[in-house]
Structure formats: C-alpha cells, structure tokens
Amino acid sequence: MDIRGIDLFIVVAYLVAIPIFGVYFKRYVHTEQDYFLAGKMLPWWVISMSIIGTNIGAYDYMGAAGGAYRFGLAQANYEWIGAIPAMILSALLFVPYYWKAGVYTVPEFLGKRYNTAVRVIEAILWGSFLACVLGVFFWASGLMLNEYLGLPIEIALIATALIVGIYTITGGLAAVAMTDVVQLLVMFIGGIALTILGLWTVGGWEGMIQKIIPSHPDHFKLFLPLDNPTYPWAGMIFGLAIVLSPAWWCCHQAIIQRTLGARGEWDAKAGMLFAAFPKMFIPMLVVLPGLLTLALNPNLVGADMDKAFPWLIKNLLPAGLAGLVFAAFMAALISSVDSTLNSAATLWTRDIYQRFLVKKASDKHYLNVGRILTFAFLIWAIIFAPVTKKFPGIYVAMQTLLSIFQGPTFAITLLGIYWKRATQWGGLAGLIGGVCISTTLFLFEKWSFLYVAWWSFCGSIVINIIISLITRPEPTDKLQGLVYGLVMKDKTLQEILSKRAKGETNE
C-alpha cells in the first residue's frame, strides 16, 4: 500500500495517543470492582459508545463490505433487525436484572439463578471462545500494521500487545470504556469521510442506484427470497432476529460487562438503549462502502469480493484521508481487542479462579490476579495469533462454536428471568440438551447456522419447561431480584437491591 507522510503522521499519532489517554484512568483503580466494573461509575453515554466500539470490529468492515458487494443491502439486516429490537429487549428486561444481582459476569448471574454447574459450563464456553477470538483479532491487527506501516509481522503483533496492554492492564474496564469512546468517534469520522467521498464520486445516491440496479436488481432489498443460500428472509427473521441477535445483545459477556459498570440502574438501561442509535448508522460505515465499490468496480469476483473495503481505500482516498480511514479501521480493531481481553480476564478471575481455586482472598489479591491474567492473555494472543494463519477457517469455526451454544444460553437466560417456575435442573438440562440439539443438526443435517440457532433455542426452551415442571420449585428467597415481577411492586426491596448492586451493603 502506498503511504504518504501525512497519513503516516495521523496513524502514528493515533496509535501513540490511545495508550497515553487510557493509562490516565489507572489512578481510579484500587479494588477488584474498580478494575472489572470501572468502580460502578460509568455514565450511560460512555456505556453506549463503548458497547458499539466493542461490537464493531475490523472483521465487520471487511466482511460486511464484502457481503454488501455480493448480496447488497440485505447485509444491513445484521445492524438493523438483527440488533435494534434485541438491544431494546436487553435494556428493558435483561440488563436491570444483571445489574440488580450485583454480578460481574453473565455466567455468575446464571449460577445465582440456576446452579454452579450451569455457571461453570457457561464460563468455560465463553472463556474459551473469548480467548480464541483474541488470537484472531491479534492476527488481523498484525496484518494491518504489517501491510500499512511495513512492520514485520512479529513486531506488529508485539506493537499491538503494547498499545492495548498498557492501558488494559493498568486501567481495567474504565480505561477500556473511555478509550472506546474516542475510538468510536475516530471510526465515525473516518467512515463518514469515506462514504461521502464515495457517494460524491459515483454521482450521489441516485447515481449509485443507477449503476448497480441494472445488473443486480435485488441489491437494494433488505429481504431476499427463501432460496437465497446465505440470507433467506426466514433465516434472517427466525434465526437472526429472534435467537442469535438477542443471544448476542442479552448474554455476551463483553457487551453486558459495560452495563454492569453503570453508576445506576437507569444508566445501565439507558446505555444499552442509546447504543442502538449509533448502531443504526453502522451500515453507512460498513455496508455502503461495499455498494460503492460495486458501483465503481463491478469486476471483483470470488474471494476478491471480500477486498471491497481495501479496494475503496486504495483507489478513492487522497492523502490525509487514507490515514484517517486507516486509523478508523485500527480503532474498530483495537476497541474490540481491549474489550475481549478485559472480559476474558474477568470471566477467568471471577468464575474459575475465585470460585474454585482461591475463594476468600483480599480485594487486592483479586485485583492483582485480574492484571496477571490480562497479561497472560496478551502473551497467549501473541503466541496463538500465527496459528490462525495456518487454519484460515478458524474464525468461522469460532463463530460456529458461538452459534452452537448461543441459542441454548439465550433460552435458559430468558426463562430464568421471565419465569419463576424455571428450576436449576430445568436450566441445566435446557443448556445441555440445547447444545446437543445444535451439535447434532450441525454434524448430521449440515443446516445453516441461522436455522440451527432457531431449533436449538426452541428445543432448549421445551426441555427447560418440561424438567422444571417435574422438579421441585426454587424457594422464593433465592429468586428475589433475579426474576421479573418478583420485586416490581416492592419499593423497599428495590432500594435494598439497588444498594447491594452499588456495593453499599452486604445484605
């Protein structure tokens, strides 16, 4: 890639400024809660921007632009029907109960609601997933620095670890969330600049439509026919919108952790809900570039379609803007890496180390363990990253693993919060049974992951209900604050739970 002085200056300035800004928040970290939950001081606007920074990664830029090049506007379903309703559901139903429970992780909540076995299974699944995804993110980051700055790949990986590690290890969630705010602004500025320049080049929105529609008549439709192999409308609605998307927005540790660090219940809910507004504009940054590339160059075929985004940067942007858009691309990557790193350390510290290895140590001890684990995951990511090169399908495999347990996880969490009759054995059987169903459908029926998610969700719900109805109900004391409706009309209990969540009481 051609690199000019002004572009290099912008990229280097950005990569130096981010860790310096992040390290500033070290001064606020004195306890385990400060480190993992930002001392429960995050306001709603920081939470919302951090959620979107975490959600949008470099793979979204590449994959979504490539998807838009192939299938058109249907790719935007992942940002619209595949996100916005689920974010409302998460904000108004799930987040308040996680927050009230005063937990650090989603598996910890499931452990309180059901039993330790459910917590351990969930913690191992999510912990392994996050650790593997870190390696993939690191490799992508190393490749970008190698391609753009010409750094050898090993040096690029270490540079990534230094940039992210310095502030994630020292400042914890507060540093991660605050840097995410800056990264999101950089992403939007770079992305909007690219989109405006692209639209101007193709003759505006109308010009783009006129260039694409004659050869691709379905490229401006959100729903595609059922015989479309990748985006059939039924899969989009039943698999994506009803199961996978709520599973992501209501149960994903890296997403939910920001809301657990909120300064109050309202901020936790508002943070998740307000994130839906910038989320609606994400197709402008990741889908429109794919369509613009198609309008400018309809000759990309096969795997080259996935290079729609780099093609646009290379062929469209003048000096200065290329550096800005590259910085936006790196911002997307780094904001996902730091969140994944922090969440992986939180899960392993709280749900494995603190639960099974050292149960009653001092606050300072767990703070140090959190920092050591964050460092260990950095080293792991540097070592594991090159492995992803040898197995190009590893990211797809990770996503497949995610879809295998996402449907059952969402099913037991939904029933756990909405149905007080769900018992610990119902939850455990629902989780294990749902994972068995999705694994069977994948291995023997070779179904699309969208349909697998739907049927494993339904199966998990049915199993949970049947087993719950034939086992002894949970005592009401155990369910207070964990199940919708039980505390709605009891103001005193609401206040006690609110104080407990803020750490003001041990009740």
């Binding site: 309703p85 108004l92 439709k221 729903f223 059922l226 809910k269 809900l273 609606m280």
Partner: protein, 69 residues
C-alpha cells in the same frame, strides 16, 4: 408444509418484521413507569426509555417499509 412455506410471497417477510417491531414498541409501553425511571436522577420526560424505544422502532419500521422488499 415446506413447499407452502417456500411459496410464501416476500411481502410476508415485511409483514412479520413490521408486526414484530410494533409488538416490541407495545411491549416497551407495558413496562411500569417506576421500573423505567428506577435510579434515574430525575423524572424528566426525555429520560423515559419507552420514548427512546418507540423512536427506535418507528425508524426501523420506516427503513423496512422503504427497503424491505
């Protein structure tokens, strides 16, 4: 059953989606006011999260009506 499903016109996708958005909007308004404002610094109208949810759903309906099929 499978053939019947496959022969459904694309318009049904739009109908199901819009019904889902409207359902979510109505569901949000069934949340009690005290639950929505829990822990809020004050009770100003713009802090009512049901209004935020409604705005989001109305924008989604508009986008899917324009680009859905």
């Amino acid at each position: 059953m499978s053939n019947w499903f496959r022969n459904l016109p694309l318009f049904w996708a739009l109908l199901i989606a819009v019904a889902g958005f409207l359902g979510m909007l109505i569901w949000a308004w069934f949340r009690p006011k005290a639950y929505i404002y829990q822990d809020a610094p004050d009770q100003r109208w713009w802090r009512d999260l049901r209004i935020w949810a409604s705005l989001l759903m109305l924008i989604q309906i508009a986008l899917y009506v324009v680009f859905g099929t």
